[in-house]
Amino acid sequence: MKLLLAPAVVVLAVFAAALAALFRWSLLEFIPGSLQTGGLTLANFRGVLAPQYLDAVWDTVVLSALTTALTLAGAYPVAYALARTPSRRVRSTLLVLTIAPFFTGAIVRTYAWVLVLGNTVLTWPVPMLFTERGVLVGLVHFSMPTMILILAAALSHIDPVYERAAASLGARPARVFWRVTLPLSMPGIVSGSLIVFAWTLSAFPTPEMLGGGKVKMIANVVRDLGLDSFNWPGAAAFAMLALALTLALLAGLGRLAGGRAA
């Protein structure tokens, strides 16, 4: 029975080898104009602290935080409707409309926002395309299905009896929501927010296409350094940074989940 795992272990080994190669190159000295590398160095990680790159890191964190907050606010009512509607037709419609963008690829989705945010289709009072505002809109749209699914799963675990009990004791709907529903859905809110934040930290196609080179997040810096400047060691250091941030956040999520189970 254990042997059945062997082919999957081979796949994991290939993946681990790719990440090991990334880690090794993040520690190699970059020789400009060459794919040859020098000896071991920490210079690539010091490069992350250069002002223009530090800006990208800061922008990434701010955009990720805003994306998380807006996605949470937008997703909650839909997730609630999904979890509570008695009609299978309404539930299916909501699911198909909110999940389908999840399945349409990044390019299709982002190109669609290029059309909407560029002034070809609608006229915006302020510039949207190639600004952080525009990138934010794309990121929120991108994260929405994930957040909706996580929140809906959490909300469908809450027995409506609690809400009915609060209402029958005289609580108004707003009070029922703030004192009963919202606290009970906290696990979903926390895990949804952490996952969306972690994903947005390493978002690539959205800032690449909607930012038009003017908005840089960490992943865009990795691409620029790796594919334009052929500075693989520098790109690898940034990629390691993205990986470390993501893993730290998810480890936090794991601890929270573990704490609840215990």
Partner: protein, 258 residues
């Protein structure tokens, strides 16, 4: 009332880009306008005759076909081992098998690029297939694992006690019972692989690139609605797949109950 309004507004936000893309794809001129001034299928004709898209479509079929053909059996065996294998550290194995999901695309992409360069495989589609196998495997493992967990071992024991060899019991009892999980895994794997962009961008060139990468290159260089036409074809295909999956699998059950 306010709640219903919020839901409708959000659904409009989620579907607006889709509607615009489809509308623009029928635009008669290369200069985009909305609502379109007429109706034309010329961008669809352009999609089908642009040589780079033809080449990329073939690459997509080869890469997705190859990756899914490998990942489906590998993931199914792994799911069986996870549930039945009495493994030590089962949770660690499960976490490891799902770990490619949480690695940022640019990190995996650059890692595969460096690895492929070291092995001299940069001009080959095999690197793309290998990368896609790792990326879709978590989806297969997770989908099939759910089915294995719901499978009653008594049914296999019954087959064995009636004289079936282990292989025959597996083929005639286990596999048919796993069909929903296998189907969901296949669906996820195909959709994820066909749409994969970030990792593929790092490890492909003009000869090996798959459709999403070719579309990205086209968007960067041209502004006509050709990509809107190709996107519309993708969107229609996706909605059909999701709708069919919802009809036959009841996505609400798949997603809302863990």
């Amino acid at each position: 009332m306010i709640r219903r309004l919020a839901v409708v507004a959000l659904l409009a936000f989620m579907t607006l880009p889709t509607v615009v893309v489809v509308a623009v794809s029928f635009n008669p001129t290369a200069i985009l306008s909305f609502p379109p001034g007429g109706f034309s299928l010329r961008w669809y004709a352009n999609v089908l005759t642009y040589p780079q898209f033809q080449r990329a479509a073939v690459n997509s079929l080869v890469v997705t076909g190859g990756a899914v053909a490998l990942a489906l059996p590998i993931g199914t065996l792994a799911a069986l081992a996870l549930e039945r294998g009495r493994l030590r550290g089962r949770n660690v194995w499960a976490a490891l098998l799902l770990s490619p999901l949480v690695v940022p695309g640019v990190a995996a992409g650059l890692g595969f690029l460096i690895l492929a360069a070291a092995l001299g495989l940069l001009r080959s589609r095999s690197v793309l297939i290998a990368a896609h196998v790792t990326l879709v495997l978590p989806f297969v493992v997770r989908s099939v694992w759910v089915s294995v967990r719901n499978l009653d071992p008594a049914l296999e024991r019954a087959a064995a006690s009636l004289g079936a060899t282990p292989w025959r019991a597996f083929r005639r009892v286990t596999l048919p019972l796993l069909r929903p999980g296998l189907f969901a895994g296949l669906l996820f794997a195909v959709v994820v692989s066909l749409n994969e962009f970030v990792v593929s961008l790092f490890i492909s060139n003009r000869v090996t690139e798959i459709l999403p990468v070719a579309m990205f290159t086209y968007v960067v260089n041209y502004t006509d609605p050709t990509i809107a036409a190709l996107s519309s074809l993708f969107i229609v295909a996706t909605f059909l797949v999701v709708w069919l999956a919802d009809r036959y699998l009841d996505l609400g059950r798949v997603f809302l109950q863990h």
